[in-house]
Symmetry: C2
């Protein structure tokens, strides 16, 4: 029962990163790790790493390092991964299909337990073992299956409608891939992944790097 309410938002992606890398270290047979080792493996400053871990009340041992197994448990507990989370996916297009097939979710304890689309050719068809339901059934199906996280992978025009249905269904955490700004009540938490924006940011940096130069082959 660690009542640490004060984990900086900026630290959360790093905590997830530490968890993943610790898993890899375990597979390689490691049992302990120092902050410097984990820092270089994750590309994070070691002081920042130690501070991040201190947020979750975790205890390493001075002069020794961190015991990997309990540290991973602490991270999983903090990130809420101990309770297997049920995910609903709305919009079974190209991206939706890819998400259903993505193994990384199951590896972290996320189970896609409901699929929704408006396409009559899709409704009723099982994909990855789950039968696609019509989007209008979101408020009915999601509570039945204990959905806590909704993923919106619809085209832009349909995204707000899908989001509204999810909110009606009691879903308070939404991951949005559609290129629109979703309007939600304040108690709902939305994260946005916009692939075009990512490319535009890279494009900006490409312009800054070598203004007006063609890519050049580096001799190895």
């Amino acid at each position: 029962m660690t009542r640490e309410r004060s984990i900086p938002e900026a630290a959360l992606p790093r905590l997830a990163l530490y968890l993943r890398v610790l898993g890899e270290l375990t597979e390689n047979g490691a049992e302990r790790v120092s902050s410097d080792e984990l820092a270089s493996a994750t590309g994070v400053n070691s002081a920042k790493l130690r501070k991040d871990l201190s947020y979750i009340g975790s205890n390493g041992t001075r002069g020794v390092g961190y015991e990997i197994a309990p540290l991973m448990h602490a991270l999983e507990g903090t990130l809420g991964l101990t309770q297997n989370r049920s995910v609903a996916l709305v919009g079974i297009g190209n991206l939706g299909h890819a998400l259903v097939g993505y193994s990384g979710f199951a590896e972290r304890g996320f189970r896609i337990s409901a699929l929704f689309d408006v396409d009559p050719d899709l409704v009723g068809i099982p994909i990855g073992g789950i039968v696609v339901e019509h989007t209008r059934r979101i408020p009915e199906v999601c509570p039945e299956r204990g959905v806590t996280i909704g993923v919106v992978a619809t085209p832009g025009q349909a995204a707000q409608g899908a989001c509204d249905l999810l909110v009606d269904a009691g879903v308070r955490c939404i991951l949005n891939f559609a290129p629109v700004v979703l309007q939600v009540p304040s108690e709902v938490d939305v994260r946005k992944v916009d692939l075009a924006v990512e490319l535009q940011i890279l494009s900006f940096h490409a312009s800054q790097h070598g203004p007006g130069t063609l890519p050049r082959v580096v001799n190895r």
Copy 2:
């Protein structure tokens, strides 16, 4: 020739957002917009928005607002979108296929001009009009086609190798979907999209919201 080197990193995703929303406003027939209007349409504080726009040396008219067309040109110029950017995609799995079919890239001037995979069943097959090449041909094909941005959508184990080949090919901007920390020379810019991490962050917030409660149906 705006030599404004000092655009805060945090402003870049917002600039891309403004650009997209301005495009939507144009489709609706608007020609001018005030910072307050654009701010509420994007969910950004209006002072922050004006500051963001001031970074790109853009000039609105006091008392009137911003002329949409020149503002969009300024944004496109700053983000480097005026030069049509050529993108290489490595790893044609589920996600790779979805990315090839994603229309949002072309809408922003990004052209996927090269596909790579190691699967002999894929090499030689055209997908979306582009023939898949073997990954080993990256250093040869990318310079030919003027690739400036590389997208890594391989499984985790293959990602570093794909990345190294892209770097050898002179690609200095990489978007990485694989759940690994890529090691690159300092002049190369990597952005990371990790879907599992996004879900874990939401999971954390779900735990914080209503600790230990099942989702509840909100009566509408």
